[in-house]
């Protein structure tokens, strides 16, 4: 006789897993249905809210003529470069500040003041300082992703259990050994959480830069579409920004899942 689990319905645990995986899709479909209903009932003018069909048509056209790919790849390029630069600076400065409280006293007023100013306020200046090409947008992105990485790196390094630090000291571990085998593994979950936040902010940095001046990029596409009263294309651009941010977030989440696999292994 076959064991019960191989007969009839799949086990409840497997069904729940599938349901959880399909739930976001259900939410999206529900939103689209609601959107279509609002348009069909003419609750909002189609000038302000075009139908899902009109947006799908704009998406299809923008994909077919290659313009969406061109704009999206420019924004992605700015996001990735900005993320790399901003995160590198955030990690380096965050680690230094965590280890040297004097540095924090020196720099924190400057960093907090810089971070608390909305990036749109100084984005036009960045264009003047760094030129109207890619550099200005990359710098804007780097600045916006820098702070979450910095804060989480400081928190991660400072959150180490003192007993572990004492243990490494008593074992006469070198600075590199302490970093490699204690500080980095212990701080990684918090640093990666910051990186996830940064990855979603990267698109904001890139698009703010493009809003100031750009020929290509999703921000430039929004402005161009808006100035031609092509609202469906504006929505396509915005959805593409969301997709890029989600993709980058998912990538970082996957990296986190792989790197932190050791935390999921049962301790023997």
């Amino acid at each position: 006789m076959q064991p019960q689990r191989y007969l009839g319905k799949p086990p409840a645990r497997s069904r729940r897993k599938w349901l959880r995986m399909l739930a976001p899709l259900g939410t999206i479909l529900l939103l689209i249905a609601l959107w279509q209903l609002i348009v069909s009932l003419e609750l909002i003018s189609p000038i302000l809210l075009p139908s899902p069909g009109a947006v799908a048509s704009a998406l299809s056209n923008a994909l077919a003529d290659g313009s969406l790919l061109k704009h999206a790849s420019t924004t992605l390029e700015e996001m990735l470069f900005g993320l790399c630069i901003g995160v590198s600076f955030g990690l380096a400065l965050g680690y230094s500040i965590a280890k040297a409280p004097l540095l924090e006293s020196l720099l924190s007023p400057l960093i907090v003041a810089f971070q608390s100013t909305p990036i749109v306020a100084y984005a036009p200046l960045l264009v003047i300082w760094f030129g109207t090409g890619l550099t200005g947008k990359i710098v804007t992105t780097a600045i916006i992703v820098f702070f979450p990485t910095l804060v989480n790196t400081i928190a991660g390094i400072r959150g180490l259990e003192p007993s572990l630090t004492d243990l490494f000291r008593s074992l006469r571990a070198s600075r590199w050994q302490t970093f490699r085998h204690l500080e980095l593994p212990a701080a990684l979950p918090i640093i990666l959480a910051g990186l996830k936040t940064s990855s979603t902010l990267a698109v904001i940095g890139a698009v703010v830069g493009e809003f100031v001046s750009a020929r290509y990029g999703l921000g430039a596409l929004v402005i161009a579409a808006r100035s031609r009263y092509d609202t469906p294309l504006v929505i396509v651009s915005a959805l593409t920004m969301t997709t890029l941010a989600l993709a980058l977030y998912s990538l970082v989440a996957y990296i986190e899942w792989r790197i932190l696999a050791w935390r999921r292994r049962p301790r023997t």
Binding site: I47, P124, I128, S227, Y229
Partner: protein
């Protein structure tokens, strides 16, 4: 019986309130672009000098981006807005039924600024030059396209670069050879930087205006088709009152500057300047009672500018000079009127830019001169 009495009492109560309601000014918001600025002085004058109120309106002003202004008017969330002419054509090509009812700027305000040493008297010499533009959209882009077309050039003949609204800084850093600007404002800023020695080697700037090459329809007052059909009498009152406020601004810029103080925080409030403007406004009122000609009025503005320049530095006077420069773009024998040729020129420019789809835009529906009261 008691019901009848109640109806009579309610009726008697409603009669005076209805009469009061007719006397109450109608709340009306006008959507403007950009930010509060002395270039919107006719609207401030309309409120402060009571032109709108006399016409039965309590006007409030809001500033938005051009596409938002146009969409809100198109869907009836606002009755009046100010946008540039090309926006009306573009919007109508996308099913926004708005009507351009008053051409506020009689001359297109965009032009090309460059170092006068560059000697670009022939626009054909632009070939190969780096030209800065806020972006490939809006009045700047339309104006440049028209200029290039007029010089038998295309965008491919120049190196066009997006610089945002940073023309003075980018130009003075030498990042571009020429920049597309609003001619009433930015050339003045660049010249001030040059005078202060902060604009590289540039000593003096030169400007080629789009208006000197081609007549394109410019900024004006828009309304929705629904409002035009439902209450053209109200539109007539508002448009006429705006025309009066505009004429008052052109005729007495010192008074208009003073009216703008309540709306534009960045205006210079130097005591001695305000006193000078107050006395100038008073003297101009007396002069207006002599019914001067348009040429006399232009001369009086020039005289006032010269007098003030001899007393105040360029920085203190800059916003007033911007107002005077802008007045030159508004002034005409007949305010508000727009002609088919300028609409056609703009339409052709947009078509050349590839901004219009296959479905034709009926230009005759895009504007109306029915609210323009003939000048005496």
């Amino acid at each position: 019986m008691s019901k009848l009495l109640a109806i009579v009492i309610i009726g008697l109560l409603l009669v005076p309130s209805a009469a009061v309601a007719q006397d109450q000014p109608l709340d009306e918001r006008i959507l403007l672009t950009f930010v509060p600025n002395v270039q919107f002085a006719p609207f401030y004058m309309g409120i402060e000098a009571g032109y709108f109120e006399e016409a039965g309106f309590a006007v409030s002003l809001e500033h938005l981006q051009e596409p938002e202004v146009l969409d809100l008017v198109a869907v009836g969330q606002a009755n009046y807005g100010v946008v540039s002419g090309e926006q009306v054509i573009l919007a109508r090509s996308q099913d926004r039924d708005v009507v351009y009812a008053f051409e506020w700027f009689q001359q297109y305000p965009v032009g090309l600024v460059y170092d006068s040493a560059l000697n670009l008297s022939d626009l054909g010499d632009l070939r190969g030059k780096i030209v800065g533009i806020p972006g490939r959209f809006g009045a700047s882009y339309s104006g440049l396209t028209a200029l290039l077309h007029n010089a038998n050039l295309t965008e491919a003949d120049i190196e066009l670069t997006e610089i945002g609204f940073n023309a003075p800084e980018v130009f003075c850093l030498g990042l571009v050879d020429a920049a597309v600007v609003y001619i009433n404002n930015e050339p003045l800023q660049i010249q001030q930087l040059a005078d202060a020695g902060d604009c590289g080697d540039v000593q003096a700037v030169a400007v080629t205006s789009v208006a000197s090459q081609v007549d394109l329809v410019s900024n004006g007052l828009i309304i929705s088709r629904a409002l035009l059909d439902d209450d053209s009498a109200a539109v007539q009152r508002l448009v006429s009152s705006f025309a009066e406020a505009l004429r008052a601004t052109i005729d007495n810029p010192a008074a208009a500057y003073l009216a703008s103080l309540a709306y534009v925080e960045s205006l210079q409030r130097d005591d001695s300047l305000l006193k000078a403007l107050e006395s100038a406004a008073e003297a101009q009122s007396d002069f207006l009672s002599e019914l001067p000609s348009r040429a006399d009025l232009a001369a009086s503005r020039a005289d006032l500018a010269d007098q003030l320049k001899s007393r105040f530095d360029a920085q203190t006077l800059s916003q007033f000079i911007i107002l005077l420069n802008t007045i030159e773009l508004w002034d005409a024998d007949q305010l508000g009127i727009s002609d088919m040729a300028s609409w056609q020129a703009m339409h052709d420019t947009l078509q050349r830019m590839g901004f219009l789809g296959a479905s034709p835009v009926v230009l005759g529906d895009a504007f109306s001169n029915q609210f323009i009261v003939a000048a005496e």
